[in-house]
């Protein structure tokens, strides 16, 4: 099994470090990330392990419970999205509308790649060094708390995505593939 890329602190960032990094991140076509996601909304709270796999324009997002059972697996590409829950298959045009249909949750799933890479498109706020602090995407506020270096890619490791009644807390634990 693949061993994770070593996670390092971003010790020194030259003036244009973040601008160059963001350009570099825009070229990423393959990702394999593992981490933790916590959801808090009026219905309650839960957390799960996630596995996010990207191959060009197709991605898979799988949620695993602490006991090891699969909570759900979302697979999507430019044409279609498919969600598997307890062996049942649901389909729609894209991931965002499928999650809305099945869970009643509107989440910025179609923008997940950019959010996870730390290059949110849309109204964004950067700090003085050019690093993204926050952004508004599909009605959600994305706030980045921490970044780390993975084989010369700077990725957000701790961030949250929220709107008026939903809070998603995301932690990146492992990067297995990034190129």
């Amino acid at each position: 099994c693949q061993s994770p890329i070593e996670q390092k602190e971003i010790s020194f960032a030259s003036d244009n470090y973040w601008t160059l990094m963001q350009d570099k991140l825009k070229t990423v076509k393959n990702l394999n990330l593992k981490g933790r996601i916590g959801i808090q909304n009026p219905q309650g709270r839960m957390s799960a392990n996630y596995i996010y796999n990207l191959k060009n324009d197709a991605y898979t997002l799988e949620l695993i419970s602490s006991l090891g059972s699969q909570i759900g697996k979302l697979t999507a590409d430019k044409n279609e999205a498919k969600l598997i829950i307890n062996g049942k298959v649901y389909t729609s045009n894209d991931g965002e509308s499928l999650i809305k249909e099945i869970y009643g949750l509107s989440l910025p799933v179609n923008d997940l790649k950019d959010i996870m890479l730390g290059i949110p498109q849309g109204m964004a706020l950067k700090d003085s060094s050019g690093k993204y602090q926050s952004a508004v995407i599909a009605g959600f506020l994305v706030e980045y708390q921490k970044f780390a270096d993975f084989n010369n890619y700077a990725l957000p490791t701790d961030y949250q995505i929220s709107n008026e009644d939903t809070l998603l807390k995301v932690r990146l634990n492992e990067v297995l593939t990034i190129n």
Partner: protein
């Protein structure tokens, strides 16, 4: 009788603690999740499964209840001990017949396969021993995933403090007891 044999093995000790490495594999054998932490039990009623990395989680028994605290969302879920599907680990510390009556036990190739009579997310629990010490605990899930805890540094004792866990005052309480 395999159940009696297993209970005899589990009855051989009143206390037990070890480190664990957890690995979850999917139907194709691909690792989907891993973690590490400590496990401890003290008969008749104490049990602790404390996941430390990469994300802390705490599963323990206190009195007649099972507590699952998730610091990531600062929520504690409370189940009654009778809700065994909430935690099959309870079997390791509770030898009472009325608990074990809910399970069938088969011994195959050195592994004890414990199958709940009432099917839920967990198809069965598999225990293997190294000598007389628990070596591996596996949960075979309905969706085909297998959740394995590989134990190491096993000791026939448990530091009383291991069972103490202070849940923050502001934790959200999810009371699942009926």
């Amino acid at each position: 009788d395999d159940k009696a044999d297993l209970k005899a093995k589990l009855n051989a000790f009143n206390e037990f603690s070890a480190s664990f490495v957890q690995e979850v594999t999917d139907k194709s054998g691909q690792e989907v999740m891993s973690s590490n932490g400590i496990i401890a039990l003290q008969k008749p009623a104490k049990f602790m499964l404390h996941t430390l990395n990469p994300d802390e989680q705490v599963l323990f028994c206190a009195g007649n209840d099972i507590y699952f605290y998730d610091p990531f969302v600062n929520q504690v879920s409370i189940f009654s001990r009778s809700e065994l599907s909430a935690s099959p680990f309870i079997l390791l510390s509770d030898m009472s017949d009325n608990v074990w009556a809910h399970y069938d036990v088969r011994h195959e190739n050195g592994v004890y396969i414990i199958t709940p009579n009432r099917q839920g997310d967990i198809v069965n629990l598999r225990l293997s021993f190294k000598g007389s010490d628990i070596d591996t605990i596996s949960l075979v899930m309905k969706d085909g995933n297998i959740n394995t805890y590989k134990l190491s540094d096993g000791r026939r004792s448990a530091d009383p403090q291991v069972f103490e866990y202070k849940i923050p005052e502001d934790a959200e309480v999810d009371d699942e007891r009926r």
